[in-house]
Amino acid sequence: MLTKDLIGLIAEASGLSKKDAEQLLSTMNAIVREYLMAGKAIQLQGLGVLEIKERASRVIVHPRTGERTTIPSKNQLVFRPVANMKDELKNA
């Protein structure tokens, strides 16, 4: 499902116009991005949490040269679904 379809469906379900729905969606995205940039997690009720997690730095070994290099830690945006949704979709 693409954004366009989603907007159509949201508009249908909420009684908003497609234009409004689109505008709200993009505004929400902007807000979400802003908060993510501030290092905050975002709770989406009934869905889950969008949060930033750190991937630990690790050492890799070059198989041929045996050279060791450290891959620095980095942030990753992960989605942690709510248990309810997780179970619901488990066997979908």
Binding site: T3, L6, Q23, L24, Q43, F79, K90, A92
Partner: protein, 388 residues
């Protein structure tokens, strides 16, 4: 994750940002979640432009073993929801250094933001300082030149204290008050308007100059003192040795002075001194003998050797002392027993045979005051030799 943007907060933010009522925002958001779930169930994928894609990912069934029974079991496949952020969002998240340190140490979480600024400020400061230092000589010259043009030497002296006080607040406070304050003393002291520009700048460097010069002077003085001290001590110890060595001969020589015509110069001179006459001098020398007897008595028994060992790569006198005497503190004895072979005790040539003398109980007794004093003396001598 320390902080979380809650659902209500998101709703409020959305309402104010989009200019709609909170209720509308709430309706929209709940519709969004509902449709998302539906979309995941149906299409297994929902894409939201500007954020990313929610996907339903299938996890294949896998075999496992029941830990308690050892039975093989199959863990059935299931679906899990994953979110892959859009490239822009991903980048945005990866750029943050804050969270990575927050995850490892929540206490230090606040710092990473500041240090970056601080580092930037520091860089600016350093650049500023370097610039100041770089201009230093020029400005200093200018300052020196100025008094030559003006007949009054006073302005320079007067300028120093006043501007320094003014100069300090300058960078902190806005630049505006600067000309006002500086302008006041200047017309009084110096008449020339050209100077107004120059003195302003040199003030700071001048202060630096004085502090730096003072420091340099102190350091140089200290070095000189230390150097002088060692020089004098070396000379004194050399003189003492030269006094001590000839003395045992001297007693013999007094008796059979004429029998030994072949003599080194030193004893000869001593001989000439002593017979010439003054008893007090002799007494002084005898006293020296008495003092030096301690060392000489102990230097003598070095004939009794435990072994002779060749110096090998990486060996140290201290280690040998530790090995043979059980304590590295006794290394000066090793040096003392091998003075003829060792120039610098801290850098002995590989292959040098080192005589390891047997030490008496007394010498090895660390509680014995006299022997420790002797050891200390030897150590100081040896350390002096290190510096040669």
């Amino acid at each position: 994750m320390a902080e979380k943007l809650s659902w209500t907060e998101l709703r409020k933010a959305l309402a104010t940002r989009a200019g709609v009522s909170e209720k509308t925002a709430g309706v929209f958001l709940s519709a969004l979640t509902a449709q998302l779930t539906e979309g995941l169930r149906g299409d297994k994928q929902v894409k939201i432009n500007g954020l990313g894609t929610f996907k339903l990912q299938a996890v294949a069934p896998r075999k496992s073993v029941n830990v308690s029974t050892g039975e093989e079991i199959v863990i059935e496949g299931y679906n899990k929801v994953v979110f892959s952020p859009e490239a822009g969002v991903k980048e945005l998240v990866e750029k943050q250094p804050t969270v990575s340190s927050m995850a490892t140490d929540p206490i230090e979480g606040d710092f990473p933001v500041d240090p970056i600024k601080k580092l930037g400020e520091q860089a600016d400061e350093i650049v500023g300082l370097l610039a100041d230092l770089g201009q230093d000589p020029n400005k200093a010259e200018k300052v020196e030149e100025e008094p030559v043009t003006t007949p009054e030497p006073e302005p320079v002296v007067v300028e120093e204290p006043e501007p320094v006080i003014v100069a300090e607040p300058e960078p902190v406070v806005v630049e505006e008050p600067e000309p006002v304050v500086v302008a006041e003393p200047e017309p009084v002291v110096v008449a020339e308007p050209i100077k107004e520009e120059k003195p302003k700048e040199p003030k700071k460097p001048k202060k630096y100059h004085f502090v730096r010069d003072l420091l340099i002077c102190v350091v140089v003085l200290l070095l000189l003192l230390v150097g002088g001290y060692f020089l004098i001590r070396n000379k004194l110890s050399g003189w003492l040795e030269s006094l001590m060595q000839p003395q045992p001969q001297q007693t013999e020589q007094v008796e059979e002075a004429v029998v030994e015509p072949v003599e080194t110069e030193e004893p000869a001179s001593l001989e000439s001194l002593i017979p010439e006459g003054e008893i007090p001098q002799k007494q002084i020398l005898d006293e020296f003998m008495a003092i030096s007897n301690d060392t000489e008595m102990e230097e003598a028994p070095y004939s009794d050797l435990i072994t002779t060992e060749e110096m090998h790569e990486g060996s140290r006198l201290t280690w040998m002392a530790k090995r043979f005497y059980g304590d590295k503190r006794f290394w000066p004895y090793l040096y003392d027993a091998n003075r003829d072979r060792i120039v610098n005790p801290s850098n002995i040539e590989v292959g040098t045979p080192i005589r390891v003398p047997r030490l008496t109980q007394e010498q090895m007794d660390t509680t014995n005051h006299a022997s420790m004093e002797v050891l200390d003396k030897l150590r100081i001598e040896a350390e002096a030799a290190c510096k040669k």
